[in-house]
Symmetry: C2
Subunit: 215 residues, 2 copies
Amino acid sequence: MDEGATAHERVYRRLRRKILHGELAPGQAVTLRGVAAELGVSMTPVREAVRRLAAEGALAISASGRVSAPVLTPQRVEELAAIRALLEPELAARALPRAHFSLIERLKRMDAEIDDMLENGDAAGYVRANIEFHRTLYLRAHAPAMLAVAETVWLQMGPSMRALYGRIGMGRVMDYHRKAIAALAAGDEAGLRLAIRADVRQGLTLLSSEGLDAA
Amino acid sequence: MDEGATAHERVYRRLRRKILHGELAPGQAVTLRGVAAELGVSMTPVREAVRRLAAEGALAISASGRVSAPVLTPQRVEELAAIRALLEPELAARALPRAHFSLIERLKRMDAEIDDMLENGDAAGYVRANIEFHRTLYLRAHAPAMLAVAETVWLQMGPSMRALYGRIGMGRVMDYHRKAIAALAAGDEAGLRLAIRADVRQGLTLLSSEGLDAA
DNA sequence: TTTCCTATTTTGTGATCACAAACGCATCCC
DNA sequence: GGGATGCGTTTGTGATCACAAAATAGGAAA
């Protein structure tokens, strides 16, 4: 599946996916030798991959060098929400003129998949499908730098989001994706911006209000 | 001066400063062994530092692994400008309630220093002082994640900005910092947002309109 | 003179090793 | 019983080495 040329690239992608999908619990420790043994490589490429992920905020490195999935403070969550609320409506707006029928249909299918995940209570699948929905839309914006920043933010939220939905369930999740898709089909930029902003804010206000008092 | 505990941290900071201040020309190559020899360390910590800087967009790594300062396309410049225009007014607005007299005085002194750089035609000093002005203001926002994103963007622009000012001079640079400081002192959030947005847009429209056709 | 091919050098990659600091745990003392 | 202390183990750091691929320089042929 992941047949990257270099070993550190493979390690990077593997770890990144685990973090993004929330397969690491917040605060969970990761050892260089452990990852190296698990993936059958030496420590060298693992260190590079970990260093890279730490630079993206996807992993935290303590003063003594220990690596772990980051634990988000409420302030941090608020900040990440603010960044998403600033960037993602812009990304959606830039994708709008390029959003043709096939893309809209694809987004509808992805949203249906998200609904399935919600009904089945599949928290990990929900997080993954939700990110995929946003990424698919934003890819059309042809704004790689902006998308990279957004992905960095998602990466930082990964462990906490997954832990949150696993703990409190997903009953209260409202579907703003339909509104976004409708605005997309209608060419309504203002409506699209509002829908995306609401969608982004929802997940993170949930996280900051209930997610962190149990820590 | 830079007495970081670990070697890769020292290498990282050293390279970062060089890039941020534009001491590397866009496209200029950097070799691992070269940096290692220059700083008196082995290749291992250099690779980690380079990998980290590449993750931040401060260095580009070719398909064959060669490392160089990034060359920005006009589209890239436009994107970076858009990110700055979204994030920095927000950072300034968040700093506003915490901006007391001493901070405003400090910013005035820093702006005067920037004017000196402009008069002396010191492009490198101008870039450095300008970044320092913005960072000083935004630090008061107590928004480390947002500031980190902004610094990432500055890092990506470093080489190109320096090259631009060195080439076309800085005669046409307008001082929006005064307006920002005035708005800050008056507690005028809307005015502050506008001033910062204008300041950010100026540097980058200049870069995208004249900077890249000579490449 | 230009172009193409080859040999040499440069350069990044990944594994291994030695080392020191931090951690975990059992023990001991108060 | 609780906290400090000691030691063995785990873990990250940095240097060195072997290797392969890429870049460069040099020479031969047209």
